[in-house]
């Protein structure tokens, strides 16, 4: 069987650009992953619906606006409602160090800040994706 890692790269909230998310998406593609990209300004509801319908192994969210402490936990709640808590969720963008323990307590597996080499994110996903 040909099992590919499927990733949803999502931009919750009101960010004005998605350069970083696109670079990460491209790096994941080059690492052999199937990346579903849905563009800017997604609501948590849209993100979770896409994650379920696309049956992704990984949800990678990028946020620059500072609303992560609200939006990330909301996504985790909705995933749990849909019985999709086995999806590996990672975050990126501009997220202060001090907020990371809180996000991790909500189930975000890792947060990758600015300057993280894309290879580090990819290695983390490959090592932690939950095989079904």
């Amino acid at each position: 069987m040909d099992r590919k890692i499927r990733v949803l790269v999502a931009k919750p909230g009101l960010d004005g650009h998605d350069r970083g998310a696109k670079v990460v998406a491209r790096a994941m593609r080059d690492a052999g992953m199937e990346v579903i990209y849905t563009g800017l300004r997604q609501t948590p509801e849209q993100i979770v619906q896409a994650a379920v319908q696309e049956d992704v192994d990984v949800l990678a969210m990028s946020i620059l606006s500072g609303a992560h402490n609200h939006l990330f936990p909301r996504v985790m709640e909705l995933l749990a409602d849909k019985g999709a808590s086995d999806v590996l969720v990672v975050g990126g963008g501009v997220i202060p160090e001090d907020d990371i323990p809180f996000l991790e307590s909500k189930g975000i597996a890792a947060v990758f800040g600015p300057g993280t080499p894309t290879s580090a994110t990819i290695e983390f996903i490959k090592a932690n994706v939950k095989r079904r």
Binding site: M1, D2, R3, K4, R6, A25, R26, M28, R29, D30, A31, G32, M33, E34, V35, I36, Y37, T38, G39, E45, Q46, Q49, A50, V52, Q53, E54, D55, K82, G83, A84
Partner: protein
Amino acid sequence: MPAKALPSALEAAASILRGDERALARLITGLEDGDPAAAGTLRALRGGSAAVGQLTAQVVGVTGPPGSGKSTLVDKLISAYRAKGLRVGVLAVDPSSPFSGGAILGDRIRMQRAEAGPGGGLDPGVFIRSLASRGRLGGLSRATAQSARALEAAGYGVVIVETVGIGQSEIDIARLADTVVLVSMPGSGDDIQVIKAGVMEIGDVFVVNKADREGSDRVVREIRAMLETGATLRQDLALRQGGAAELQPVLKTVAETGEGLPELVLALDARWAKLNASGELASRRARGAAAEARSLLAERALAELALLEPGLEEGLAMEIVRGEREVAEAAEILFSAIRK
């Protein structure tokens, strides 16, 4: 005799029929991965739906060159069918990298207007799934056809299949879809010339999108001229059978604004009614199913090759290079080997 369904297959099928999107999404993943359990679930699901006469989705294929506006058109079609009260399933195929095997699946970006239901919430009557072509060259993925059958059995009244952006010869959609919408656009005259030979033969409804651009009337005229020539060549036969040859519709749309969409939906409805009334639907689907089975057979045979004694293929290849054997002989030897 069909194989007896496993309890797990029946359970998964029942979840899907109850509207469990995650179970349906899992089934599609399994079909794409070639998981034998998924084949069992699909059988159970279709068996259950066929028993209550539910296998009646209209499968609409949307194909055309990259950038012609297929995804935006699909977005508008979703809204149109939702307005008629039909649940809509969408399969959107994008290419996999031949180098890394990875893919960027971006069709969903342009399908989000339709995803939002009335009142700002999400519309539960729309299921969109992005698929990577994974090395398949016909414009679809390995299990797009099986996934479409899954959506049909799950109760989606319309299944829209968007192919990868195509060139000349990606015509797998013709054996899957009941109706093929072939999208072209002005300003790419050379492309139109190029696709005339292969892909232009599979359109059941022709759409010239981005029709607000200069040159759209010319593209419409060219397509009509091509269709008329074909009809003229068939005319004698059609007259003998007591009817005049009917031309496929050629419509202008501006998917971005929705212009021309009502006419497109009318044309699709007319085609669907005609397929059902004439009985052509069943024969078309049977031809498609046979072609699909043949391609899975070919894939199965190639998989057998991997089980042969190591080095046989490579050895034959070297003999060909050294001029000791011809490629057709090598194929015969491999064929004999997998039949054992």
